[in-house]
Structure formats: C-alpha cells, structure tokens
C-alpha cells in the first residue's frame, strides 16, 4: 500500500468517526439533512427564532436517535429480571415437565400485553437463547408508567392473574378471564371517591354471564383473582350486555394495575423469578463517573509512560491513541452497542493494549536503526516485521473475547464486546494510523537515531 493511499484511508475514516462521535455526544445537531444545510435554512428563514430552535431540538431528540451512545441498565438504572416458566399444575398436565416453545411464546405475549396495558413501552421482553424456559425482561428506570417502582412491575408481571367468577358457595367456577375482551379502570359509579375495573366479555362470555346473573339473582357471586376473593357483589339484575364491574374501594393506581393484569390475560404458565439485577439511578451514575475517571487516568498514565520511554515517538503514539478512542466510540455508536459498566472496563483495558503495537514497532525500529539502516528503510522494515507479531498477540486476545461473548455469562458480555472492538481497532491504529503519523516525520540522519534515548 502506498503512503498516500494509507494516509487518505486513515484521514477519511477518522473524519467519519469524528463526525459520528460529535453527533452522538450532541455537539452537532442534525436532522434528516446535514448540519450545514439545516442551519442555512434557519438563518435565511424570517420566521421567529423560537420556531427554528424548536425544530432543531426536535431534530436532535428524534432524528439523530440512531446515532447515540446506548447505556446499559447498570448505568442508566433499571431492572434485569429472568423468569423461569413451568407448566401449570393442573390434572391434565401433571405429567408434562417442560413447556413447549409455543407455550413460552404465548407466555411472552401475555407479558407483553400486560406491559402495553400498563403503558410501559420501554420494557423489553425476550426469550433466553440458551435456556428454553427462561424469559428475560429489561425494565429501565426512566419509565413513564405512573407511580410504578421496578419492584411493582416485576411483581405485576409475575402474577398469574387467573380471574374467576364463582357460584355463591365459592366452589364452582362459572366464568373465567379467558372470555374477557377488555378491562379498564374508571370511577366507581356507586362511590366516586374510589375507582373500579370495568370488564367487557366476548359473545360467549356475555351469554354465560347472562345465565349466571339470572340463576343467582339476589345472591352474591365471588370474583376470585389468583385464589383470593377480591369482591363478592350481590347480583341485582340479569346482565345481558356482557359488561361487568369489579368494585373494591380501589385507588386509581390499584384499579389500573388490576385492569392491566386482566387485560393481559392469565399467564399460561407458572413463573418463578430466577434472577434479578437492579441498579438504582444514583448508583449507575456514580459507576459511570468512576469508569470515566478511570479511563482518563489510564490514558494519562499510558501517555506519560510512552513519552518517558520513547520521547517524540511516544507522543506520536499518544496521538494514535486519541485516534483510537475516537474510532472506538464511533464504532460503538454505529454498531448500536449497549455500553455497560463492564464494557467501560473493556474500553479502558483496550487503551492499555492498543499501545502494545506501538511498543513492538518502536523496539523493532530501534533495532533496525542501530543496525545502521536509513530512517526510511528502518521504518518500512520495522512495520513489516512487526505486523505478524502484532496480529498474533491480538488474535489470541480476540479469540478469548469472542469465546467470552458466546459462552460467557450475560453480565460480562459488554466487557467482551468492547474488548473485541478495541483489539481490532488497536491493530488498525498500530499498522495504519501510527504508520501514517510516523511517515510524516522528516527523514533523519543516522547519527540522530539515539536522540530518543538521550
């Protein structure tokens, strides 16, 4: 590869990376069109300045949302819950030990219904790829779901929510939540201080409900949720419209929760909480700050060490390190990687590893120079002879990182990802960026070779 081509590739990539970083960090705002155009339109526009600022802020929050740094729950705060699902213990399925994939899908659907009914679109629910009956839920703390704490949400999502209308003796089940089409919270019409949950049944449910209300007119019919009687209204009249109300002196929140549970339907399986990892907002923020501080300290220490050891060359490799960081951040943004705390650990470690290539090259360069080679020849030979060494040492780290990603625990995946990206970019920095920078140095006479050691 020629010197010019290498420099051109490096420059273009660094500029792209820098642009991505600046957008991700919010330094550059841009909507669907590039920044410059947008600002010209704004400048030439005669409309009130308030409107132009409002469009840019909107553009920032909406349009550039794909170019941003995504933080994991351990940094922005949130709950990571693993649910384990088992077959319901009914007579017919007593022998069945494991759920079928369809049943797990059904379960996920019910959980998603509940989440939607609660208005928590930020909650992510997915199946664990490795273990068939595990379902993972990720609940960020910045949810807009009313007054629900993460613990409430975990609680709500794990409830079986089996709704039953029973006969007055409470022994026979007459109607279940399966025939429900809609459940919503509203003001209790008998007592406006409280809220009630309004139910709407499908045709079959409506028919059954009409039969029940005519059969037990004047008698109480217990409404049972998960084995507990939540209300036992006395039937006042035959109800044919398929509508019912559950009252029970609920607050608005309680009524909303119950409605969401009933709307989502009963869980088709028994679930158990198998794992919970919760990080409060202040803890995540503190951890991020500590991580950034460690990163800055690592960078400073490495720069000092390299400069003390290799003088001007060390400074040049520090510039290479800055380029490395610019590209590392941009890669994370472009790959939409989620930055977790261990991920920050991986980035910091890769800062230390990225300059390893420089050390290998500089040591070779010294050898070549002391063997009496000219600067140009020495530089060329140092890079070409260091290449296999650099590739080898990074390949083994990359192997470890990839194995860690595929077979390691989910909590450490972030570490594996950032380390893998850092390893690859470290090689690029050593072989391309550092080389371009070193080639910019003026050719020196052989006698000057020992200046760095002076």
């Amino acid at each position: 590869m020629s010197k010019g081509l290498r420099l051109a590739i490096v420059t273009i990539l660094v500029l792209i990376a820098l642009f991505v970083d600046l957008v991700a960090l919010g330094v550059i705002d841009f909507g669907s069109k590039p920044t410059v155009e947008q600002s010209t339109i704004n400048l030439t526009g005669t409309s009130a300045p308030t409107s132009s600022t409002s469009t840019t802020t909107e553009g920032k929050t909406k349009k550039s949302s794909s170019l941003r740094l995504r933080y994991g729950l351990d940094i922005k705060g949130g709950v990571h819950v693993v649910l384990e699902a088992f077959p319901l213990e009914t007579a017919s399925t007593a022998t069945q030990k494991q759920l079928t994939p369809q049943e797990v899908d059904e379960l996920i659907k019910v959980l998603e219904n509940r989440v939607n009914a609660l208005g928590l679109s930020e909650v992510v629910i997915y199946r664990d790829k490795a273990v068939a009956n595990r379902i993972i839920m990720e609940i960020p703390l910045d949810i807009k779901g009313g007054n629900l704490t993460p613990d409430d949400i975990v609680d709500l999502l794990g409830k079986p929510a089996v709704l039953e209308f029973r006969d007055p003796t409470g022994e026979q089940v007459l109607l279940t939540g399966k025939d429900l089409v809609k459940a919503y919270a509203g003001i209790d019409q008998n007592n406006s201080a409280y809220y009630a949950v309004y139910l709407e049944f499908n045709d079959e449910g409506a028919k059954k409900f009409a039969e029940i209300t005519s059969k037990y007119l004047g008698k109480p019919i217990p409404i049972v949720l998960d084995g507990k009687i939540i209300s036992a209204p006395v039937v006042q009249s035959v109800i044919t419209g398929g509508k019912a109300v559950i009252t029970g002196k609920f607050t608005l929140d309680e009524a909303k929760k119950l409605a969401a549970l009933l709307q989502g339907g009963a869980l088709p399986a028994r679930v158990e909480i198998a794992e919970v990892r919760y990080v409060g907002p202040s803890i995540g923020e503190d951890a991020l700050k500590a991580g950034v501080r460690a990163g800055i300290l690592a960078f400073i220490l490495v720069v000092i060490w390299m400069t003390l050891n290799y003088g001007l060359w060390g400074l040049i490799s520090s510039i290479g390190l800055v380029v490395f960081l610019i590209m590392d951040l941009a890669t994370l943004v472009l790959f939409q990687a989620v930055l977790t705390l261990p991920g920050i650990g991986g980035i910091i470690l890769s800062v230390g590893m990225a300059v390893d290539g420089s050390v290998i090259i500089f040591e070779r360069l010294k050898e070549e120079l002391s063997a009496g080679k000219s600067w140009r020849t020495a530089l060329r030979r140092a890079f070409s002879r260091s290449t296999p060494t650099i590739l080898d040492s990074n390949a083994s780290t990359l192997i470890s990182a990839l194995v860690l990603y595929w077979f390691g625990a989910p909590t450490i995946r972030g570490f594996a990802i950032t380390l893998a990206i850092g390893t690859i970019l470290g090689v690029f920095t050593s072989l391309m960026v550092l080389r371009s920078l070193m080639e910019m140095l003026p050719a020196r006479k052989k006698t000057q070779q020992s200046t760095t050691a002076a």
């Binding site: 384990e84 919760y278 803890i283 991580g291 300290l297 220490l301 470690l349 230390g352 192997i399």
Partner: protein, 311 residues
C-alpha cells in the same frame, strides 16, 4: 530516556530464585485459602453468581446499626448474613443473604423494608439456584473452549511443544490470581472468569514471543549452549514484554484505583493477572524450557548408559 536498561542479566542461571519467589506467592495464597476455609467455610469469597442468593445495597436515613440489622435477620431465621458498609451513597450497607428462590427474595426484601430508618434499596442482585448453575456451567465451558482454541492457534502458528510450557505459565498465573482473591476476599463471580479468559489470551502471547525468539536464535547462534541461548532470547525480548505489559498494567491499575467498587474485581484481577503473566513469561516459562531440556538430556543419557552397560 529509557526507563529500563537491559543489562547482561543472568535470568536463566538464577531461575531457582525466580521459581522460589513464585512458589512463595502461591504458598501464601494457599495459606489464605486454608484460613478462609476455617473462617468463612470456603477457600474464596464466592459471589452470588455462583452460590446463588441476594445481595442488597440498602440506604438508610442515618447511619445504620449493624447489630439491629443482624438481629432482625436472625429473628427471621437468617443466621448467616454478611453486612458491610458501602462508601457511596451515604448511609448505605451491603447485605448478602442466602435465598434459594424468588419467594425467599420477596421475604428478605420485605424484611429489609421493616428495618429502622430504611430509605431505599439502591442495588439488588438476586441469583436463583438454577441461574447459578447455568453461570457455573457457562464459566466452565467458556474457559475450556478458550484454552482449546488458543492451543490450536498456537499449534498452527508455532509449535505444539510451546503449549506445554505456556500452560505451565498459565497455571502459575491462575494460582497467583486465586491466591490474591483469597487474601483480599474480593468476591469471585462471572467477572473473575472474564478476567481469567482475557488474561489467558493476553499473556499467552507474551510467553510465545520469548519462545519464538529462542527458536529463531537457535538457527542464528548454532552451537551456543542452550541455557545461554534462552537467556539471550529472554533479554532481547525483555523490553518488548516489559513495556507492553506496563502499558496494559497502567490501564488495569487505573481501573483498580478509581474504577469504583463495581469494577473492583476487573481492576484487581487484571492488575494481578498482568503482573503474574509478565513475570511468568519472563522468569518462569522459558527457564522451565531449560529444565525440561536438561531433564530430557539426562534421561536420554541414562538410557544410553543403560544400553551400554547391558552390552
């Protein structure tokens, strides 16, 4: 300016001393493990990832009384509970309680909420037994697969025989690492496994670089005594091994010193691991090659001798 001036050191000749240093460090680690066995019932402080249980970081409105916390849990039937102060946020303690299922977790959380001056739970980790089992299995398979893949890689790129010495160096590194975790009682969990795996990948190459130089020098300096040859190779790769390790070590130390308690096991594991890995690749692995060589020569000599005497 050069920070390290490589002199005409006789590393191979002094190898017994270097072995002794390593053995001492490992022995101290083993003693720490034995002491731990006696005091906490396990050689290491195994984290909830592997044992299962609940870790709660609970913030109170004022400095909490550890005695009250312990008594509350004791009354509820949780005799074995770990209580530790946490430096930030203020008035926060870390509790670690055994819990075998989600219902028990609920019970423990409700219990915590009844503690006097309870403010909020700021962090929580609950790992049930089935997840703990998966995590142990993950750790095991990941380690084995990484080791096998790296061995395959070394065999393709270099020579399989290097693998033996390299594995000896790796065992050394892991023993030192385990010893330090036993001494400091920092919890061993999934992140420890991550650290070990990355160190496997990272320090193996340091060892290989020296070994590869030995092979290269064998052809250049024909007739040189093997011991001398190894020493020469160690010295000529010394600066490279040392400087690359220092830069990575500096990053790991930064993580250890200011990375905060949640990255502590990464910082500690990487710092100690890189130190041990660099030490073993310079002072243990290659000198060990000399010992293996001598032992082989001796055995062959004996065999020859035996054959001669038979004749």
């Amino acid at each position: 300016m050069e920070i390290i001036k490589v002199g005409n050191w006789n590393i191979v000749g002094n190898r017994k001393r270097f072995y002794a240093i390593s053995l001492t460090v490992i022995a101290i680690g083993i003693i720490a493990m034995i002491i731990n066995m006696a005091t906490i019932g396990a050689p290491f402080n195994l984290g909830v990832d592997f044992t299962g249980g609940v870790v709660l970081e609970v913030q109170f409105n004022k400095t909490p009384d550890f005695q009250i916390i312990r008594e509350t849990f004791q009354k509820a039937g949780y005799g074995k509970i770990e209580v530790k102060a946490v430096d930030s946020p203020e008035n926060t303690v870390m509790l670690r309680v055994k819990a075998t299922n989600g219902k028990e977790r609920d019970k423990i959380i409700n219990l915590v909420k009844t503690l006097p001056d309870f403010k909020q739970i700021v962090r929580q980790e609950f790992v049930g037994p089935s997840v703990a089992k998966t995590l142990i299995w993950n750790a095991f398979t990941a380690t084995i697969i990484a080791l096998v893949l790296i061995l395959i890689y070394i065999s393709i790129r270099f020579e399989f025989i290097y693998g033996l010495v390299t594995i000896a160096a790796l065992i050394h590194d892991v023993l030192v690492l385990l010893g330090v975790f036993a001494m400091t009682r920092v919890a061993i969990d999934s992140s420890f496994v991550a650290v070990v795996l990355i160190l496997v990948g990272y320090s193996v190459m340091d060892t290989i670089v020296v070994l590869d130089r030995i092979r290269e020098n064998k052809h250049i300096y024909r007739g040189m005594q093997f011991e001398q040859l190894v020493n020469k190779s160690i010295l000529s790769t010394f600066r490279r091994s040392f400087n690359t390790s220092v830069t990575t070590l500096l990053a790991a130390l930064a993580l250890l010193i200011v990375g905060g308690r949640l990255l502590l096991s990464y910082g500690l594991g990487l710092s100690v691991g890189i130190l041990a890995g660099t030490y073993s690749s310079i002072f243990i692995a290659s000198p060990l090659l000399v010992d293996i060589r001598n032992w082989q020569a001796k055995r062959q000599g004996n065999k020859k001798g035996q054959r001669k005497s038979k004749k």
